[in-house]
Amino acid sequence: MIEIVAWLIPVPPLLAFGLIILFTNRSNRLSHVIGIGGMLIAWALAMSTFFYAVSGGELPVTTDVQWLPTGDTSLNIGTWIDPLTAVTLFFVAWTMLAIFVYSVGYHNFGKAGDSKDRPGLPPHAGGIEPMYARFFAFISLFAFGMLALVVTDNLLVLFVGWEIMGFCSYLLIGFWYGKDSAKAAMVKAFMTTRVGDVFMLLGLAYLYTLTGTLTYSEILFNPETLEMLATTPSVLGAGTSAAALIALLFFIGTVGKSAQWPLHTWLPDAMEGPTPVSAMIHAAAMVSAGIYLILRIFPLITAGWHHGDPLTEIMVIISFVGAFTALFASTLAVGQNDIKRVLAYSTISQLGYMVAAVGIGAFVAAAFHLITHAFFKALLFLGSGSVIHGVEHGAHESGDHINPNDMTHMGGLRKKMPLTFWTFLIGGLTLSGFPIITAGFWSKDEILAEAFGTSHLAIFVVLALAALITAFYTGRQITMTFLGKARSKAAEHAHESTWTMTVPLVVLAFFSVVIGWAGVPKGFPVLSSFVPNWVHEFVDSTLLEHSEVLEFNPVPLIVSVGVALGGLLVGFLMYRKLEAGAPDPLARLGRVYVWIQNKYYFDELYDFLFVRPAYWFAETFVYRGIDRRVIDGFLHWVASLAGRLGGWLRNKIDIPIVNGSGDFVGEGIKTAGREGRVIQTGRIQTYLIAGVIFVGALLSYIFFLL
Amino acid sequence: MSDPFTAIGQFITDLLISIGIDAVITNILLTVIAAVLLGSVVGLVAIITIWAERKLLARVQDRLGPNRVGPYGLLQSFADIFKLITKEFLIPKGADRYVFIMAPLVVVGGVIGLWAVMPLAPGLAGADINVGLLYIIAIGAIGTLGIIMAGLSSNNKYAMLGAFRTVAQMLSYTVPLLLALLIPVMLAGSMGMTKIVEAQSGTWFILLAPLAALIFFISSLAELGRTPFDLLEAESEIVAGFHIEYSGMGFGMFMMGEFVHAFTISALFAVIFLGGWQGPGIESFPPLGFLYFLLKIVLVYFVIIWIRGTFPRIRIDQMNSFNWKFITPLALTVLIVTALVDKLAVENGFNRTAVLLASNAIIVLVTAFLVRAHAASLRRRMEVTDRAPIQQPEAAGD
């Protein structure tokens, strides 16, 4: 039974996509009913799978059928339900469902469309989105990709789902393709993630050539294979094992997908899409998929490594990239005034946490943070969408045309949009790790505790610093947006969003708080005696080699509480009295602030390092040098040579010899034809008479003469 | 007195033999007598049906109809016949003389020939051949030939056009007619007319195959060239159609052919779908079957007259598209569905009548739905193209 359910989970969104694209795209109502209905069915199936898993059902549940025979081996397609899959399904289904419902309100369903609205541009008077049905088709396909990626039992289908999501994110970031910025962003996102994907495909190919299979059970949960991979030297030689190289290639895929440094630049630009898309990409699906991948291949990353050992090279790389990204992106978030961009950088930073956790071998902590982050980041994005929506409406009413994303024009929205404020506050506090009550505290604390407990002090310090900055910009964002006085007319006229937008916020806020209680670490004062560390036990059972539970240590706890509260407080105090038009208090940092605001000039750097050299290379070298000079020159040479040769042949051979004999034959045939053509009358009857007489002759020969 | 027809035949045979005539020749004579008798009676029926039709049409149109000659105008037809006989049979200049003369004979002959296989009563049929229904189809189309001959030989363009229309219509509607007739053949398991009648001793086929009956009826109307398919003699378009040049008894023969044909089709419908001579009490007194048969014929004939009185004429493009786009696909569907359902129902022990009726009802519902959807789309297109005509009348079959 559960096997069939697992098979069916990705199917409803796919059907919904097909139905909407092919049949119902004229009817907005029918389209969103089908889209949400499909997601609802998928959600119900995912929940039943999850509850089967947590209620002690036998795991992993696995089925497969043969898909593609390839000579000696065959590629199978199947499902794989283990604890990691189950919890991933849980948060993916919930957040996606919330996003689907939220989209109805976000795209102003029920409002009359403005005749000036054009497909490819955001509706400018609060009317219904012109491509409403198409949006639901795209996100349905996106949901299919994500769910297929989660339930599959092999890396190939995972890659397929991965690419479907990449394609969908391309479509959705550029959903308003009438905007030039959106067009640029969609191309950038697609191309940047493609860099990672190519490496990932290389990893897949390499893995396949070594093992002849891509199925989880035969690679990741097969100690012999892992041992083989860990001991086989890689093609690079020089001490790296095949496992490490494959893990590195996969990790580059993750770097692209989860926007880790140095491939992080696409994600902030992806904010050009509608806000549900941002939530989809940054919380529920795409970036989570990157982390899901490295969690999935955790046995491969850690092949030949055991708890307590010094980190292997690949783990060092991963943890370094993760920690660096966490700190680096959090500093960038400080300088942003666009409400969604702050969250985008925050996402990059939080993903860095998870990557770093995987890097130091803290599998459970990373998974735990993945879950909590999905909920609170989805909540924050949807909340920010609600804010933007409200401010946009205010802008329409007051005629004050400002950028509705810009936080400097907000302020005082607490009274205007109470539900959004409270849920956003919960999300913000969770993000900054407000002690005890929020889920973010528990998950982040676990990562810090792991880093501290396994004595990776450098990592610990960097992450703690990142946590401090995170708390700071969260405080800054909440204060600038909701507290104080309204700094524009639009903000004064803002009002609360419809129920289809607020209900998902409340649901997500609920989970943002509650999820944390499933992961209270063992030995935590007072609380741990009430609630067991359920997450640790459950998720850890994914792996063959179980990690030992760390002893409780108050140092990371104190640090964690300290940075969270401190950061929030500083943020609040600094921005409490921000006036309209006043410079950002951080501008006092001078040059550093300029650097931050310009994202450390990474875009410019890449432009200088890659884009312009590529153009130059194409123009100067390939076109002028190779194409014009070498290839064309060669062709011209060949052509003139052929011409000269042809002339010689024509004058010496063709005209006297070939033509002479040809003419003779031709003239002879012509003469023969002219003389003989009277026989051909062109009348079938004549031929028939001849034929009949011949047959008669033949008959008489046979019957009378033989 | 169990079988009076055999008894009469035996009586005549005995009589002839007693005069001293050879047995073989007696047999031939008997056949000839029966054939002449049957043909004459059927021909005479036309006289009555003409009167009935005029009278009924008059009632439909709130008139009195013939009422001067004889009681209730009963002798009106006789008066008409005398008039026709005494008129000169004109042969137009440039006409193809022999073909012109033969055409009405072929028409009447073809129609009367149909009665050769008609089972009139239990044990009474002209020739009970095992391919009776096929014979009906084959001989029934001979009438088309007569009409073509008339149109060709008249040296008149209206006659020619009328003949064209007739041929187009008759050939087209033969397709659904044949398909509809295959269903009773399938249900009875035979093409013999007597077998078909006997197969309806329990349930009449109109209950087993109502749609087939309807299709057969409509196609027959088209074959007859009766309203609403009477565009072969649409006065406003082609004057009188193929018999425009005929006068006197030549015209009379065409008239007779037409009425006898209508009567014959009624008889066919009665035989194939209404159980022919089936009815209560025929086992004990077989001649009763003849009465039942006559009653059923009259009933169907009444419906034909009724339709003539109430329906408008359709256009020629409507005639064509109705046939090829609606009734032929429907007949095909019904044929296939009936074949499947009948086979499965009989194998699985369902009530045959109920299952077949239900399948017919489902086909009707689906058809109605499709027609509605099609009409809706046509209406939408009409709205889109505003007042532009939806459809140019297609070129007629020429």
Binding site: R677, Q680, T681, G682, R683, I684, Q685, L688, V692 | -
Partner: protein, 102 residues
Amino acid sequence: MVPLSWFLILAAAIFSVGLFGVLARRNAIAILMGIELMLNAVNLNLLAFWRYLWSDSLTGVVFIMIVLAVAAAEVAVGLALIISIYRRRSTVVVEEIDLLKW
């Protein structure tokens, strides 16, 4: 009883007459008629042989049915071709349809 050879002689005669129609007629439709006559002669032959020699199997009858089907198809296509030619070139005389000659 009619001897088998009578049927065969009649069939041969009709066949030859049909063949003459095909060979000598100028009108394309008349040629078609000739072909029909030839086919009918063949059918007569087939049925006669079936009746006299092989009446224990239905091969002859089936053969005739197939011939009938082919004849129907042939007439339909043939007439369609003739009418198409008539539309384009206003002629049904086979001697005048000589575009591909020389």
